[in-house]
Subunit: 224 residues, 2 copies
Amino acid sequence: MITQDFRQIFSNSFPFWNRLNQDEIDLVCNNTSLMKYKKGANVHGGGNDCIGALFVKNGGLRTYMLSEEGREITLYRLYEGDVCILSVSCVLKSITFDVFIDAEEDSEILLINAGAFSQLAKQNIYVECFAYQLATERFSDVMWVMQQILFMSFDKRLAVFLNDELAKTGGDTVKLTHEQIARYMGSAREVVSRMLKAFASEGIVELGRGDITILNRKKLKDLF
Amino acid sequence: MITQDFRQIFSNSFPFWNRLNQDEIDLVCNNTSLMKYKKGANVHGGGNDCIGALFVKNGGLRTYMLSEEGREITLYRLYEGDVCILSVSCVLKSITFDVFIDAEEDSEILLINAGAFSQLAKQNIYVECFAYQLATERFSDVMWVMQQILFMSFDKRLAVFLNDELAKTGGDTVKLTHEQIARYMGSAREVVSRMLKAFASEGIVELGRGDITILNRKKLKDLF
């Protein structure tokens, strides 16, 4: 891709674009690169890295927290046209935590490097405001997850999870192991397996090797 | 208080103040009122209320989530000079959740009503940016709470809680019942009592009627 292509995509996507002067537009475009990530690759996280703002050209990113013991809690997912701002959290002094970001499928990402984005946010209030507004949207996502974790009983949570997976992938089958589901839900494999068996005994799901077929969507939805 | 007093306080506290024109300054000051809340009073929450932006003149506010069963999880506290923006979440379209806010002590609050604040945020980007930046700071607070809840074992969490309380109130005594601690930590009274007894048997605390005295701060801190 050449700079002109970035310009085209960004001008259609960033609400602040028409508030940039020519120097600022050049600054963005000259500091953007096209990154390709394979499914499962780590994009951001761990140390004090602050790679920059990520624009998802295609594919999908999953953001999660990681405990010392390696437990993962999925916070939210980003898809085509979304912008990830927590990967440039060093620019936003109000963000004092760090998260992990993985490519959930093969993804093409436009990366605006942290230095350029920082300069832009400092000199242009519209860019700064855009960044904080995006962070606040993610705050809403995280509050939703927190409510699920704290207040929903596990059968409800699992039913919501399976339903969301179906909505995401289409069809009637969730191609995940019990281990993976436990990891995504911040639970233990045993807990997931026990609840899935209960669902199977009620005719809601059928358990296969490495996948789960939903037999009765209505009964699944009645759980939440 | 008269309008002139609000102006004095706000001009010292709001970073956007020198970006307001005279009409905007008048708009804020003419739509601010001094509210007094008794300790324990509910300030915001529940329905779709959106009272406005709250400036803590003195006292303290506690923000929490509430489950259907009445369980509370404290998200953060605000003190003198802090501004609460989640009480005006209807103005910020990126906030899609609601929280509860109580006065934790007798408090005087300057309330900028939602209509005026909304108009201000719409017409002045610096006000909008201030609001989203504040929301992002609260995002960081909530992520901290979430990490505590998800990843820390309960002895660690309780030790951190007691230590934070000491830091807040000074002295060596935490004047809270086990029931109250459980409520603040999103746990059960039995769990708190059991852990406190374990701490007492190790000589870390001494349990009184309605209070807990920390005997050995070093051992308390060693827990986290």
